[in-house]
Symmetry: C2
Subunit: 222 residues, 2 copies
């Protein structure tokens, strides 16, 4: 196949950009893993050979209600959202951003998914499946150790989040989220945030207005 010089050069540059981007993503993933276990070059290559990196456009639906899937996600850059459709209305229950992973329930119980997963932003993630896990874990048992530690950490975090949700008023939930995940307020539409907090969008607007009113300095007339 003969290409004009311009196109070839363009493809070369594009391919180089892509290689650079993936290179960067690999480094991000390996940096994350290195917090738990140290990897040899062999082990890094074993991960790379699985070809797990994906670049996905904003709005792409990764998983649909009713779909069977074995895909597990780990976000390297971007944001994905989990939501249910109840009586025709979207109910958002979670956001996953950088260095957060989602193993959909349908992967574990091998049943059709009860919810959707969609990209809120252009997202770079790893997509793996339990078979890959078994393969890598058998070859390199320390991955199993890392997955165990990661699950324990996630479980602890999740338990605290669940407790906080249960014991807090809507306003406290909003303030907690503002403190723990301030980035979400810039990245996610208001109505999705409201749903995530378990409140109506109008209530969230009123709450934000009331709280920003409280913050305003009081001018004294002298």
């Amino acid at each position: 196949m003969i290409k004009s010089g311009g196109i070839t050069l363009g493809l070369l540059i594009y391919s180089e950009q892509l290689t650079k981007r993936y290179k960067k993503m690999q480094d991000i993933l390996f940096d994350f893993i290195s917090k738990y276990i140290s990897l040899t070059e062999d082990e890094k290559n074993a991960i790379l050979s699985l070809e797990i990196f994906r670049t996905v456009k904003k709005g792409t639906i990764l998983l649909k209600e009713g779909q069977k899937s074995q895909d597990e996600y780990f976000v390297l850059k971007g944001c994905i959202r989990k939501y249910y459709i109840i009586n025709g209305e979207e109910k958002t229950t979670a956001f996953f951003t950088e260095m957060e992973g989602l193993v959909p329930h349908c992967v574990i119980n091998n049943a059709p998914s009860e919810y959707f997963v969609v990209c809120v932003e252009d997202t770079i993630l790893t997509v793996t499946n339990p078979n890959m896990g078994v393969e890598v874990n058998t070859k390199f048992p320390k991955f199993q150790v890392m997955c165990g530690i990661l699950s324990e950490e996630l479980l602890a975090k999740q338990q605290i989040n669940f407790d906080e949700f249960k014991i807090s008023s809507p306003e406290q939930r909003y303030l907690n989220l503002l403190q723990s995940r301030p980035d979400l307020f810039q990245r996610v539409p208001q109505h999705q945030l409201a749903s995530f907090l378990g409140i109506k969008p109008q209530s969230l607007s009123r709450m934000r207005a009331r709280l920003s009113e409280k913050k305003k300095p009081v001018h004294c007339l002298s």
Copy 2:
């Protein structure tokens, strides 16, 4: 020390009963573990040597708000409850019954506990700590594998529970609980269940009355 025959016999019988009870508890624990990994006699003895079995009376507080503790619990028989005190009011966020474990957050972040843990019934449980875990896991790495799998399972269960709590109405939450954990309705006082479901005790009473009214057969006048 000289004892009369009666007391010695009594002590012997008591000691035998205690031995039998612990023997039974060991079997329950080993049966549970055998779902994940097979244990050799050496490994079983390593667990037993840790002396982790405890019998605790109903009402005993295992963990207090503000307390530092390294104790992790796994219920073999009975029920324990986790609750916060918010503005002088108890907020129950979880119950743990047979074959359910709780690693309090204070164990993980090494900070004073934010909540209480109390026995709802006379309870037999294992009490372990992270150091024991490290010791056993180093000696028998397959325990680490089991803990990882257990955490993954718990995480999946917890995520579904959290989602259900967020997307359900109070009435749906009540019906879900009735289906998934019917035993709790016999074991736990109404006001604690109401708190766990995130509703007022009066609302729970009204809900139960309404739902039992719906169930009554309709008598047709002919």
